[in-house]
Symmetry: C2
Subunit: 339 residues, 2 copies
């Protein structure tokens, strides 16, 4: 198993990437290509002991500038770490690429460097989100700010197949995130999507509302990337705000503070379950290769978990299954696009 | 001060409406028209003592069927409680109308029965949402599933003026809910809105992300009604789920349970702050009259708080100020619409 890791990705530089990679090679026996500025990587690597047969440094010091045109940047910067990662996957030298860098840049590199699964209109980020009973996948979690019905239909198929393969739940439920539970209630995009979604043969629940997202009743929450990203970030923000509010309400109340100290293990368990680091990143679905996006604030643990998720993705052979599912539903997608 | 209360509104029948109204007449000295099925209302009223000079029953037994065409329903059901409430406001017999019934029906009754403020394209629901420091108004919280830039621009103006008048914060901050903080990042709607929003002379912060919604840094969160409703319901759902997860993690841990019991007053404080009942409903902004929408699961306290919010709205003279603000920004709205 070979991992291409964007060692320059993420807000904290090469260190968490390198530490996460070393630990992953030890625990999973995988090989990791550390792709990035060789000087920076070697500088950090020499502080640690690692199996040199399992870690290879690839010099690719450039960075995609997200303010510039992504397509132009991609063509111009053949030596950007994320572009080289995509190339390694495309050429079969790596089984999966992982980056905690800008998700837009990862998307561009994957789209141009690897390409899409045949028939896929737009790839989507499938982000795991904690629920009362486990977690749900939000598809799309931010790759596509504006979507049409065919996108949502394909997100439903890709998410469903991925979930089934990775988590071994053949009956994974799919919900369309909307306002109002009744069939067809929502905005124009939802109404259009609703006309076709039942034909896909998924375990389709119907519309769900925001309040259902965290209950665990739905495994795959389908929405456009604008809505998905806002839901994801609102949830992360609210969890933090609630814990902060509890903390600030404890001030000056010694009994309550002591009580909270006693209850802490139970609270930490909830915090752990809702910790985005443990999910190990989100797959980019619809690309013709395995791509895992980790969040910008990834620490060593997050990178380690992202590599673990990447390995699981490769081993599950979800990619092949998604390709087949997209092909077998072609007529429905064509109809949705009015072709 | 005269209140038109839709006594048939809400999931729990006339009882919470009547109890909330009686308490409001006692505490605020207002008069309340209980509009609805007279038999049902009298049946409940006779169980309680109240000031008959302050409570008037108006017989209007019909209900708007939300499955049918709203416009048709409005014309057909002149004796629907919500339609009669709107008429009372339109004719100046009531200062404000309040309903915990279907918000779509309230919107239709207000739109057709009262009409819009001159120049307003679409009214919006401005829903208060708890934050770490107090609360933010989400505009629109669900009235308009599909919006164009002029809608969002007007929501920003209406929300800002309302917030200033009701909460006495002249510098209320306005944020555009999007993905990515950089100016202009987001979907097509956000990009179009961004071209004009700075011209409105509001205390405009710029784009905010989902994670900022609950921090308290923004007073008015502007978004389309699809996104707003999903954010609102996701937040309500997540708060509940987190408390449930904490509870279920306490099971079998007597020490932690005891601790949580000791910390309970502090936790209850947070629960209270985040309780939608205390906010007393959401104003429908952009209608040429005062309209408060309370949530379907309104209990006595929620109705009481909604009446309180209604009185505050009337006394603040926010309506007149919104009218002036919409008129004075006419050129900007026209430009946004390409007129």
């Amino acid at each position: 198993m070979k991992i291409a890791l964007d060692a320059l990705g993420g807000d904290y530089g090469v260190k968490p990437n390198i530490l996460g990679a070393i630990k992953a090679t030890e625990d999973f026996g995988c090989e990791v290509f550390l792709v990035g500025d060789e000087n920076k990587i070697q500088e950090e690597l020499k502080n640690h002991s690692y199996d040199s047969a399992k870690i290879t440094v690839i010099h690719a010091p450039e960075m995609i500038d997200m303010e510039a045109s992504p397509a132009l940047e991609y063509r111009r910067k053949k030596n950007a770490s994320i572009v080289v990662c995509a190339k390694l996957v495309k050429e079969g030298k790596a089984d999966v690429m992982i980056s905690a860098g800008n998700s837009g840049a990862t998307m561009v590199a994957a789209l141009f460097g690897i390409g899409r699964i045949k028939g896929v209109s737009r790839p989507a980020i499938a982000s795991p989100m904690p629920t009362q009973t486990g977690f749900a996948l939000i598809v799309d979690a931010g790759a596509n700010a504006d979507c049409s019905a065919i996108n949502l239909l394909q997100f439903a198929v890709l998410g469903s197949v991925y979930y089934k393969h990775i988590y071994g739940k053949p009956n994974a439920t799919v919900g369309l995130l909307s306002i109002g539970e009744e069939e067809g209630k929502g905005n124009l995009l939802i109404k259009e999507t609703t006309k076709h979604i039942r034909k896909l043969g998924l375990n389709y629940y119907g519309n769900i509302e925001g309040r259902d997202v965290h209950t665990g009743m739905i495994d795959i929450v389908v929405c456009d990337g604008f809505v998905g990203n806002i839901v994801l970030k609102t949830s992360e923000g609210l969890s933090k705000s609630l814990f902060k509010m509890i903390k600030s309400n404890l001030k000056g109340k010694p009994l309550a503070m002591l009580g909270m100290l006693m209850a802490k293990p139970a609270l930490m368990k909830v915090k752990e379950v809702t910790d985005p680091d443990t999910f190990g990143g989100a797959p980019l679905l619809g690309v013709n290769g395995n791509v895992i996006i980790s969040h910008g604030k990834s620490n060593e643990k997050a990178i380690y978990c992202a590599i673990k998720a990447g390995i699981k993705t490769v081993e599950s052979k979800a990619l092949k299954a998604m390709e087949e599912a997209i092909a077998s539903n072609k007529a429905i997608f064509d109809e949705a696009e009015g072709r």
